[in-house]
């Protein structure tokens, strides 16, 4: 048993946990961080994109030594049917800047580096330690944790739950509910290795330039989901994710989807000749604003994926995780600096600060989107992509049919598939949920 008492215990060494541990240690707090993996990062799975702004707030000069892959100069968004894709691509030379805005990263490597910064700041980081239970006093206040490594309890004034989307501690202690199958997506991913030059040729890149491809359409077979392809330096992250309840309903297999995605004629040439070196899977919180649980209580706060803080519409998660971890740390430091106890009332400042940040503002803006996408998945992910593909083909194929006739055919295909009421309804619902 560890006899000494800590100011704070952080459970988990992902984006939110590392941010919280670092921010508290930087401000002189005595921090213990517990991680179940062999090293920080060995259990963590993400696409992955790193958002510079949120990391700069913690480590301003991170570019000096962080293991970054490529800075993003291009975003490709594809709407796919079985044989085609319609792409919206945005590429700008502005992204080749002194301090790029977004990078691809490899989480296991990045998190190891991030964790080294946490140690340098003075926190104690214990890996290969699974926290099994929260320790509570007679009034229910969280006073520490129990682990599978040591007998007894380790005590702290406050516990930061950064235990990830699948956080068991919080649900076991009834601080929040287990995520529901319609509020999380299951994504599977493979790491495909290719020589640097080959990747640059396949994606039209030079130097450390990078690109992200995101794709929706028949690849998810009517389920709410998305495929992704990220160019790293010497490998390509490729994966696909769909809502768990949709998998349950359809009986589709995640690896079956990934395989189809990889064999799609628009995708196959990008990864041709590659060597696969890892296969991973992860849950992604998709419930948005309405799925955010209670964020604080007596002796505890919850951050990152464990708090369902993920912007599914913009596919942002790690930045929300990092920011919520940092803000939780700042809130805790504020309470401590006033020598106040870590009660729910005092820790509520965390939620106030988070409400004022982009994290909650963005999630609130899109609060109706997750449900809209989920209840209309057949339309948005199957019917429309097929219609759009046919319309594009009809538009670009030159076969002597008068243009007016072609346009009539396209319009008719939309009306037949969705009816006028359906089309207007979909547009209206989408606009309402987006605003």
């Amino acid at each position: 048993m560890i006899e000494e008492k800590f100011d704070a215990i952080v459970v988990g060494a992902g984006m939110s946990g590392n941010a919280a541990a670092l921010a508290m240690a930087q401000r002189g707090m005595k921090v213990l961080q517990l991680e179940r993996g062999e090293y920080a990062g060995s259990k963590n799975v993400q696409g992955a994109i790193l958002y510079a702004d949120m990391l700069e707030k913690l480590i301003p000069d991170f570019r000096d030594d962080a293991p970054l892959e490529r800075h993003l100069v291009e975003q490709r968004f594809w709407i796919m049917d079985d044989r085609s894709h319609l792409g919206v691509h945005y590429r700008s030379e502005d992204f080749n800047e002194e301090r790029p805005n977004r990078y691809t990263i490899i989480r296991a490597q990045f998190d190891k580096w991030f964790s080294s910064k946490v140690r340098e700041a003075g926190a104690t980081v214990l890996c290969e330690t699974t926290v099994t239970e929260l320790a509570r006093d007679a009034h229910g206040k969280v006073i520490g944790v129990r682990t599978d490594r040591r007998d007894g309890e380790i005590h702290a004034d406050v516990v930061v739950l950064a235990e990830g989307v699948n956080g068991l501690l919080g649900t076991r202690a009834r601080l929040r509910e287990r995520p529901k199958p319609d509020k999380v997506a299951l994504a599977v991913k493979e790491m495909h290795f290719l020589p640097r030059e080959t990747i640059e040729a396949h994606f039209n890149l030079k130097g450390d330039e990078g690109v992200v491809v995101e794709a929706v359409g028949t690849i998810s077979r009517g389920m709410t989901g998305m495929g992704f392809i990220y160019a790293n330096k010497e490998c390509i992250s490729i994966g696909i994710g769909c809502i768990v309840a949709d998998f349950q309903r359809t009986g589709e297999t995640p690896y079956g989807l990934l395989d189809r995605f990889k064999r799609h004629p628009s995708v196959a040439p990008l990864i041709e000749g590659s060597e696969v070196k890892e296969y991973s899977a992860h849950l992604i919180p998709e419930g948005g604003y309405k799925a955010i649980p209670q964020l604080y209580g007596d002796g505890w706060v919850v951050v990152g994926d464990a708090a369902q803080l993920n912007n599914a519409i913009h596919r942002e998660g790690s930045n929300l995780a990092m920011t919520s971890g940092r803000i939780a740390a700042e809130a805790i430091v504020q309470v401590k600096s006033r020598s106040h106890p870590m009660t729910a009332a005092n820790l509520s400042v965390y939620k106030k600060m988070l409400d004022d940040s982009f994290v909650i503002k963005d999630l609130k803006k899109h609060k109706d989107m997750p449900m809209l996408m989920h209840t209309n998945s057949q339309n948005f992910f199957l019917t429309y992509p097929q219609l759009v593909s046919r319309a594009m083909q009809n538009y670009v194929r030159v076969d002597g049919t008068p243009k007016a006739e072609k346009e009539k055919v396209t319009l008719k295909s939309f009306v037949n598939a969705r009816s006028w009421t359906g089309l207007f309804g979909d547009a209206l619902r989408l606009a309402r949920a987006w605003r």
Partner: protein, 98 residues
């Protein structure tokens, strides 16, 4: 475009690194005679295909290849069909890239 049965999950898992906690599986299936719809769903949704039917038609789990996503927990724990814990510290899948 639809030869899904040809996808060999075992081959995919072969790329990964694991430290198996022999004799201490972190997931357990509750004894049953006839599997619930939730249990049957796990046969397909588990990305590592850890769940299989035995010859008595019961669902069994082998956690050695588990990639710890938690999907089966989300589906099978509310009904009491499975018990789900994290592996002991240091055990389980060890991602090189993540």
């Amino acid at each position: 475009m639809n030869v899904e049965t040809s996808v060999r999950v075992e081959d995919k898992l072969f790329y990964n690194r694991y430290l198996v906690d022999v004799g201490r599986p972190h997931i357990k299936v509750r004894a049953h005679t006839k599997p619930s719809p939730q249990l049957l769903a796990l046969l397909k949704v588990c990305p590592a295909r850890c769940y299989e039917l035995n010859d008595k038609g019961q669902v069994e789990v082998t956690v050695d290849g588990c990639i710890e996503c938690g999907t089966c927990r989300v589906i099978g724990e509310p009904t009491g069909d499975i018990e789900w814990s994290y592996p002991r510290g240091g055990y389980g899948v060890l991602f090189k890239f993540g």
